[in-house]
């Protein structure tokens, strides 16, 4: 195997082939490389399985301030014994002589029966040529030495004294070559080749938002199915969001607890006089209540994009048309892992004299096929403005159950007639986040709006 090595790698391998085990510090000397170059080189070789890094730790000891003083002047108890070597002395004299170390020295000497006292006199009883700890003190001196080189017992007699012995733990790294590396021939090649197999740092890709990607994908599918995109406003008079869609003014969906009403804001112009008259008549006749125009003026954040579609159809009254709208809708809900107050909806219609419920089902089936969902079925359901009404159920393999996706139906004559729309209108709609959640494997819909850079920078674009 021919491998390409960096200059740093070459120097380290060569050095280790000569001296098999080295610390990074030794390698710095043997290779003349900087500490940083050595660190990087070792890292690269480790990744390539050519170097072994053995980490261990040892403890070094040296003398502290008091330890050094004792090394130069002798231990306090040694100095006491020396003072008494020739003659007994007075307590006060000794105290003067030894100062602050007199107390501890005296205590130790009495405890070990080296001295005795007679009134004020201190008398030497036993003179030792080597006191405990003196051997260690001499051995360390002004150096730093490995802890395991000294006599543990002897060390223990001075280890606990304040500022006597300083211990520091040192991590030792020893670098050696793996068997493979020992026989590698590091040649000087001049081809300018680099190691193309090594790992490189990751960089973040700037990107469009994953939910926007899904929205774009869905938009494109409908455009290719012959639909034209229409765009409408988020804020709508209740008239277009509810009244025009045959939702009576006392319907629970219109209550504050489900719909966001804009505080103190009412629309002055909501529709043509004819539209208003005909819609109010349809409500009065079918729902039997007093229809209040002021209720219809109240501005809401649209609860579906259907209001955009119906307004468009009322304006254009087409005989043949395919349009869709895509955008934010709002519901006054508690935010949770499955509910947002604001989410995206796709909603489309087919207008045509030959449009049938089976066509509506066919468009759904084709849409789902294009986004990769093939296991679907249709169930009846209810919407105030469509009849018949269906919902699509799709099988979610990950959850192992059927989940509801788009709702659909044919606009009721009570919706179309007052607005002068004469041809059947097939309509469907549904939330986009649900589809995006299936696509990105998310269980929490809030993730789309958290703008968590960790997620945005890591999620795979095409799934």
């Amino acid at each position: 195997m021919s491998q390409i090595f960096h200059e740093i790698e070459k120097k380290i391998i060569t050095s280790l082939q000569n001296i098999p085990i080295q610390t990074p510090e030794k390698l710095e000397k043997s290779t003349n490389l900087s500490p940083d170059q050595i660190r990087r080189g070792i890292e690269w070789l480790k990744l390539k399985d050519l170097a072994i890094v053995n980490e261990s730790q040892t403890s070094n000891i040296s003398l502290g301030k008091n330890g050094l003083e004792s090394f130069h002047k002798g231990l306090p108890e040694r100095r006491l014994l020396e003072l008494l070597k020739n003659e007994s002395k007075n307590l006060q004299d000794l105290q003067k002589e030894l100062g602050s170390v007199f107390g501890p020295a005296m205590g130790l000497a009495r405890k070990n029966n080296w001295v005795d006292t007679d009134d004020d006199k201190v008398i030497l009883k036993n003179y030792l040529t080597e006191l405990p700890g003196e051997k260690t003190l001499k051995q360390i001196g002004e150096n730093k030495i490995p802890k395991n080189e000294v006599d543990v017992d002897d060390l223990s007699s001075i280890l606990k004294r304040p500022n006597f012995v300083v211990e520091d733990i040192v991590k030792i790294k020893e670098i050696s070559l793996t068997e493979n590396a020992k026989s590698i021939e590091v040649t000087n090649d001049l081809s300018g080749a680099i190691d193309v197999e090594s790992k490189v740092p990751g960089i973040f890709v700037a990107r469009t938002h994953p939910l926007k990607d899904t929205i774009d994908e869905i938009r494109e599918i409908f455009v290719t199915l012959g639909f034209t995109e229409i765009i409408g406003e988020f804020t709508q008079p209740s008239f277009w969001n509810f009244d025009a869609l045959f939702t009576p003014q006392d319907h629970p969906a219109r209550e504050l607890q489900d719909t966001f009403y804009l505080d103190g804001i009412a629309a002055k112009k909501i529709g043509t006089a004819e539209q208003i008259r005909k819609i109010s008549e349809s409500h009065k006749k079918n729902w039997r209540y007093y229809w209040d125009i002021n209720e219809a003026r109240k501005m809401v954040l649209r609860t579906h994009t259907t209001c955009v579609t119906i307004k468009h159809l009322a304006e254009t009254k087409p005989d043949e048309s395919r349009v869709f709208s895509l955008g934010r809708v709002f519901r006054n809900e508690k935010v949770s892992y499955k509910h947002l107050v604001e989410f995206n909806q796709i909603e489309g219609v087919v207008v045509g004299k030959n449009a049938t419920l089976r066509d509506l089902m066919g468009i759904q089936k084709e849409f789902y096929r294009r986004i990769g969902i093939t296991k679907i079925k249709f169930w009846p359901t209810f919407f105030p403005y469509t009849e018949p009404s269906l919902q699509t159920m799709v099988y979610n393999d990950r959850l192992g159950k059927w989940v509801e996706l788009f709702g659909m139906g044919i606009f009721r004559p009570e919706v179309t007639k007052p607005l002068g729309i004469t041809k059947p209108v097939l309509a469907w709609g549904g939330g986009i986040e649900r589809i995006a959640m299936l696509k990105y494997g998310l269980d929490d819909v809030r993730e789309f709006y958290n703008n968590n850079l960790g997620w945005l920078r890591s999620v795979t674009k095409c799934q």
Binding site: H209, I231, F260, E333, V341, E342, K365, I410, L453
Partner: protein, 545 residues
């Protein structure tokens, strides 16, 4: 959507030889969604337009049709009688003008039945009764009542023992101290007089729409019932009564008429309606080729009656199916009876050519340009809070647009700018690596006749060396490369941006936005630790209308 709890064993007992699996597989084809299942119990959601599905008895009628056990319309057999009379005093006309009722005899009531009746009553009150405002029901033990009855008004000192109580309370006490009185009292609050139903011994039967008297409480010993419905609209009251009557007949009761008169009230007829429908319409809407006899069979499976008369099918609709308005509703009934699963989807070629909206095209181009410049797209809500939108950015909340009664404190104000939310995004990402460069395009709102919605484009860059020059270069390049627009910047002041490092942006002498370094106060408010620069411009009026 309302929910009803069913028991499979009870359904099977009432349906005959149908397996649990068959039942659970077919419930969705009645438009019923299974919410949860727990051994024998199954909780289903039903659509608010089918209040007859608020009891298992109503659902059984539907299942019988689907399985072909019993088909055709349910005919109410109401025995005529002069025994049960209810007269209405004119005084009720300004408060709750209408009452209707029916007697149901010789039925058996077990605990399950009571539970189903209570649940049905609750659902009817909530849904078609519009929280009892439109109409409300009282179900009484017939044998505790002495006819004739009077529907009249009384003052609030009137006393009786209400349901679930053992002592007499005045109307005022009921309204002020009981939960039910507090919840529904507002319906009749403004009047000094309240509606009551009294029997011939002056005993109180009911105080609609609040509570029944305890004396008429229905128990498992009750065999005979009196049902009354009061309301503000005669037809709505009778609609509600028709559901209860249908359910009680299905449960085995014999229905007997109640004679009602006075103050524009009349005895309920509960008679079926007839709607004529053409097979051509049905086949055209469904995309089918059903024969008349297939259509009639399907309608019967949906528990309606139908006969062929000339070219038309005359459909008989029982009174409890008041969700049926006209022929399109019958198209759905045919589809349900025929079976949605039997309709094969078809993909006809499109007669029209599709087109993306030009606004979407431009916004998409802008996104791609920003990605090319190294910016990642963010998405925030249009609804945010006063804190994020104004307080954190030191802006005055003038002309703030708020929504009423939001359930979420973070979503109460419509944004008039995107930058505050992008800064909020940065503050949540302080542990992610820098530079952080994000942008967003989206709607912003301002008060104008009544509301003006425009599309805004905001960009921010946060890192140790972020500078005015950097962000101006981004703006300049994005608009030049994307739309061949030249920008100019002029000294400006803005509470979110650093004085002396802020400019207004204009194109062709028209101001379109603001650019600059975010000031240290704002950065501190958001607890961001690096310099931030950014701009926001309005795209409406620049790239499109």
């Amino acid at each position: 959507m309302p929910v009803v709890e069913l028991s499979y064993t009870r359904l099977q007992k009432l349906l005959g030889k149908i397996s649990k699996k068959q039942i659970s597989e077919n419930l969705p084809f009645l438009g019923l969604d299974i919410e949860s299942e727990d051994n024998d119990k199954v909780r289903i959601e039903y659509s608010p337009n089918r209040p007859d599905y608020s009891t298992d008895l109503g659902i059984i009628l539907g299942l019988q049709g689907l399985f072909g056990i019993k088909v055709g319309a349910i005919k109410l057999n109401i025995k005529k009688s002069n025994e049960y009379v209810l007269s209405v005093k004119p005084s009720v006309s300004k408060i709750r003008p209408f009452v209707t009722g029916i007697v149901a005899k010789n039925g058996r009531i077990d605990d399950d039945m009571i539970k189903q009746l209570m649940a049905m009553q609750e659902d009817l009150h909530f849904g078609i009764g519009r929280k009892r405002k439109k109409s409300s029901i009282g179900i009484h033990d017939l044998d505790k009542i002495s006819f004739p009855l009077t529907y009249t008004t009384s003052n609030k000192d009137h006393k009786f023992i209400p349901l679930h109580s053992d002592k007499e309370l005045s109307i005022s006490q009921i309204l002020e101290t009981t939960d039910i009185g507090k919840e529904y009292g507002s319906i009749i609050k403004n009047s000094t007089q309240v509606p009551v139903i009294l029997d011939s011994k002056k005993q109180t039967v009911s105080f609609p729409p609040i509570i029944n008297a305890a004396v008429t409480t229905v128990t498992t010993k009750t065999r005979n019932l009196f049902v009354e419905v009061t309301g503000i609209n005669k037809n709505d009251a009778e609609d509600m009564l028709s559901i209860v009557a249908t359910i009680l007949q299905t449960a085995g009761f014999t229905l007997i008429s109640t004679k009602i008169s006075g103050a524009k009230n009349t005895s309920p007829k509960l008679e079926p309606r007839k709607i004529s429908v053409n097979s051509a319409l049905i086949n055209q809407m469904l995309g089918t080729n059903l024969t008349n006899s297939q259509i009639i069979t399907s309608l019967k499976k949906s528990r309606l009656d139908a006969i062929l008369k000339g070219k038309n099918i005359i459909c008989t609709i029982p009174s409890y199916r008041f969700d049926i308005f006209g022929s399109m509703d019958l198209v759905e009934e045919v589809a349900l009876g025929y079976g949605i699963q039997n309709l094969e989807p078809i993909l006809s070629p499109s007669q029209t050519l599709g087109q993306t909206n030009s606004i979407s095209v431009k916004l998409k181009s802008l996104s791609l340009i920003m990605v090319g410049l190294g910016y990642t797209e963010a998405l925030n809500s249009s609804l945010t809070s006063k804190k994020v939108l104004y307080e954190m950015t030191n802006r005055e909340p003038i002309n703030m647009i708020s929504v009423l009664d939001s359930k979420s404190q973070e979503h109460t104000i419509l944004r008039d700018s995107i930058i505050p939310e992008l800064l909020e995004n940065l503050s949540r990402n302080i542990h992610a690596s820098y530079p952080q460069k994000i942008f967003e395009t989206g709607n912003v709102f301002s008060k104008y006749n009544p509301i003006k919605e425009t599309t805004s484009f905001a960009v921010i860059s946060a890192h140790q060396d972020a500078s005015f020059t950097e962000i101006k270069s981004i703006l300049q390049s994005a608009l030049k490369t994307g739309f061949n627009l030249e920008i100019e910047t002029k000294t400006f002041s803005h509470p979110t941006f650093e004085e002396g490092r802020t400019a207004s942006i204009s194109v062709n002498d028209k101001t379109i936005g603001v650019i600059g370094e975010i000031n240290s106060k704002t950065i501190e408010n958001y607890k961001i630790r690096v310099p931030v620069v950014g701009f926001e411009i309005s795209l409406s009026g620049l790239l499109f209308d």
